[in-house]
């Protein structure tokens, strides 16, 4: 039977987190069961307070072949990091 059920990607929001993070994937016949399976597989140890499941087919991923064009150009652009200004004296909590 394995392989007939579609694949779902699971996102869990931790107790103190603001955003859902990807935790893994699972197989389930539909979204409702995917949510329940995710509860059993990924929140057994109180890992989260909210779950999203997304059909894996709905995710468009960057291709490893495009890695150079996508990510390498950011490597030498240090000015994108906020390190080029001086912090005035007396500014606290920075």
């Amino acid at each position: 039977m394995s392989g007939e059920w579609p694949l779902w990607e699971v996102f869990v929001r931790p107790r103190r987190g603001l955003s859902h993070g990807h935790v893994g994937s699972l197989r389930a016949p539909d979204a409702v069961m995917a949510l329940r399976n995710a509860r059993d597989l990924y929140t057994r140890r109180q890992e989260g307070v909210s779950i999203w499941v997304v059909p894996a087919t709905a995710i468009t991923a960057a291709s490893p072949d495009e890695k150079d064009a996508f990510f390498d150009p950011a490597a030498d652009k240090v000015y994108r990091h906020p390190t080029f200004y001086e912090v005035p004296d007396g500014v606290r909590h920075l």
């Binding site: 039977m1 394995s2 197989r27 409702v32 329940r36 399976n37 597989l41």
Partner: protein, 231 residues
């Protein structure tokens, strides 16, 4: 019904159900279902430990003695939980019918006068709600699924139905139980069997089906071979 008798009924229902659900472990239709049924089995086992420990205090026995050293005639579980798992549809029918009984029962007990039992029931009630959801979801999918899954789910409901009368012979009324079960069967496009048929009982007084003895033989063999074994 004495307090200890009630604890034994609740505890034995949970213990025997746990043993049956655990039989699916590593042989479920899907790996995800393996985990789900193992979770449910462990929920039931956790409840059984709390309930049997409590019952054992007035009997001068610990949970292990009650679980591993009683014979079938001493068990007070309903017949439904000891029935063999059958196919997946039979197991889901059993899960649906059992949790539709345990949920209202634990809900009532959580507001009862016995504080310790109320605390156990308050914890277990949430687990029962999830078990009911799981049994309902699968009953609906199989009943309202393919031609074969519909036929097998209907067979399962028909096969287990007679044993549900024992569930509603006590603190949970037939009407309350049906109010939970009927909408699920409706949505699953399944026919609810009539209530005028065979209605076996005996579990609550220790007169069980032959299936319980085989289950106990497997569950108790290690403890009986090595009394007091710990691991």
């Amino acid at each position: 019904m004495s307090d200890v008798e009630r604890l034994l009924q609740l505890g034995d229902d949970a213990l025997i159900a746990a043993q049956r659900f655990a039989e699916w472990h590593a042989s479920s239709p899907e790996m995800e279902e393996d985990v789900a049924l193992a979770n449910i089995a462990l929920d039931q086992l956790g409840a059984a430990r709390l309930l049997l420990s409590y019952a054992g205090e007035s009997l001068g026995k610990d949970e292990d003695t009650l679980a591993y050293q009683r014979d079938d005639r001493d068990f007070r579980n309903c017949l439904l939980v000891e029935l063999p798992n059958g196919d997946f549809a039979v197991t889901m029918a059993k899960l649906l019918f059992l949790s539709a009984y345990q949920l209202p029962l634990y809900t009532a007990l959580a507001a009862g006068p016995d504080e310790r039992l109320a605390a156990i029931a308050a914890k277990t009630r949430k687990e029962s709600a999830y078990h009911l959801d799981h049994g309902s979801q699968w009953t609906i999918r199989l009943g309202d699924g393919t031609e074969e899954s519909h036929r097998r789910m209907q067979d399962a409901v028909d096969q287990v139905w007679p044993y549900t009368h024992e569930l509603t012979a006590g603190e949970v009324s037939r009407a309350d139980w049906l109010a939970i079960v009927e909408p699920v069967l409706d949505e699953a496009t399944l026919v609810r069997p009539a209530d005028d048929g065979w209605a076996p009982t005996g579990g609550r007084s220790g007169v069980h089906t032959e299936h319980l003895s085989y289950l106990l033989a497997e569950m108790q063999v290690l403890h009986r071979a090595y009394p007091g074994a710990k691991w």
